[in-house]
Symmetry: C2
Subunit: 312 residues, 2 copies
């Protein structure tokens, strides 16, 4: 059976009013999946969330009232769909535990895509200093494995809305035009992918049997650069060279230590990505993962250069 | 000295990227106050918050890096301004304690407008069932009084972005066109004020000596209606009568009890407002408060009818 012949799975999205979630809902509807969203009743009292839901609802989204704390609502919702995608704030990762138990109980869910995204938590060198950011996600992986829930994990690395708008200069609102700080030697590569593109890759993976129980990594060409490369791209756009200041690994670690949580999180992510190379130090295939670009070579996406064009 | 002769106070806003906060910053800048925002460094890593700050910065906002947990940054920031306005999420109300100690220590702040807004927490009949929503705000009032910090409190009642978009029907995204639920007898009045109008009233109160150590209540004509009146206004706009279903006080209390927190909060606020009358049961002057409309009769604001026009 070719992919074209397949019946499109019914997808339920949890967190559909959020940053990634509303792109997931839009992408699922565009791909003609019957698309559902589990929405907690209190979301309807907020005009902004309600407007998002109304727009998605007009596009065909079916709203199911329920919450991750209410098992009865979860069981009822799960009986109406084939695939569950979770897109929660990272702090709430552990709130997926009851959902996983409910998926186990119902037994009919073909695939669970947990609220992970970001970088691979099992590959990060900064787990112990991340205030649970990565350990919570790893813990959810272990629960999924222990319960033998069919899954796909999307490792999309950085969202484009994080850090890139300042050219990875915490504290700046726009990219610098005179002086720039380089962390480490500036040669380690990180990855930035636009949220709507992450959503499109994710929805493509839903009914793809190749992705069953696999981690799909996103490293699109044009979206994987070192700090030195990012600076060079930016310099060519503004027609001006920046003065480079270097911050060593030791200085960055000191900065992380002296800055209170959560304000030090951006520096922790920079340390992980541009010093330790957590987003790119491993070969995808060797690690047992799949490359999203190899799976879906024809998917259009926004490159870093295109994104930076909007900031010139 | 007339109000026109006064030098405009330097205002610092805490929470300037938030729902009310960015309106406060805009209103302060429009009124030609030297305007500052205390911004935690991690806010700059978020493209949305950064864009808000960049826009406000273009309009003249001065950004001071710091946080409510860092006393040194608070003391330094407080020495640069005359007035502090806090606009935090309700859950974070107690995070103002260190700020209040710092205001006390610096000794030069002419006025503190705490993160209260909403309904008067000392007047609410639902404090004990509000999961700390009102008790935290009352606690902050007591700390301010105990430390003898000069203050003004703005009691603006409901924001227009809360509940009104569905005509006070939790679970609906837009106002109903066939059937509507009335809570209680439908004759108790509540108040809805648009966030940008709340901000304008607040900024007017900053340098007004009449508001020193007072609570300013907002009950603008055209913004104070019972559920029956709201329904009547909506019916006249859509040219159609709605079928009314009534939910008694007992039924509403049962609903609050059976619905898990935080999804029951909208029902608690409805109970407080449209059954107990917490926003309107008391006379403003008798309670020792000031009426924002009496203070600033010429301020333009959006009425409920004008808001509902946008939903027809």
């Amino acid at each position: 059976m070719s992919a074209e012949d397949m019946v499109k799975s019914r997808i339920m999205i949890i967190g559909a009013t959020g940053n990634l979630g509303h792109h997931l809902a839009t992408a699922a509807l565009r791909s003609s999946h019957p698309t559902f969203a589990l929405v907690r009743p209190s979301s309807f009292s907020d005009a902004v969330k309600s407007r998002t839901l109304a727009t998605l609802s007009d596009a065909g989204l079916v709203i199911i009232k329920g919450s991750l704390e209410d098992e009865a609502s979860l069981l009822e919702a799960l009986r109406r769909v084939d695939v569950v995608i979770c897109a929660l704030p990272a702090k709430q990762a552990l709130d997926q535990k009851l959902l996983i138990q409910a998926i186990k109980k119902v037994g009919s869910i073909k695939k669970f895509i947990p609220s992970e995204f970001g970088s691979d938590p099992d590959k990060a060198h900064v787990s112990s200093m991340s205030y649970g950011f990565y350990t919570r996600k790893s813990e959810i992986r272990r629960v999924i494995e222990a319960e033998a829930i069919p899954y796909t994990i999307i490792s999309c690395n950085f969202y484009m809305s994080y850090l890139l708008h300042s050219l990875v200069q915490p504290g700046l609102m726009v990219p610098p035009r005179d002086e720039v700080t380089v962390f480490g030697n500036g040669n380690i590569r990180g990855v930035f992918v636009k949220e709507s593109d992450v959503a499109a890759f994710t929805i493509n993976a839903v009914d793809d049997p190749r992705t069953l129980n696999k981690v799909v990594y996103l490293r699109p060409p044009g979206n994987v650069y070192s700090m030195n490369e990012l600076i060079e791209i930016w310099e060519s756009k503004i027609g001006n060279k920046l003065k480079k200041k270097y911050k060593s690994e030791e200085e960055l670690l000191a900065k992380i230590k002296e800055t209170p949580y959560p304000d030090n999180m951006p520096f922790i992510f920079i340390y992980s990505t541009f010093i330790k190379g957590d987003q790119t130090y491993f070969e995808i295939e060797e690690s047992g993962g799949l490359d999203g670009l190899t799976l879906y070579p024809n998917l259009a996406y926004t490159t870093i250069s295109e994104y930076l064009d909007t900031l010139v």
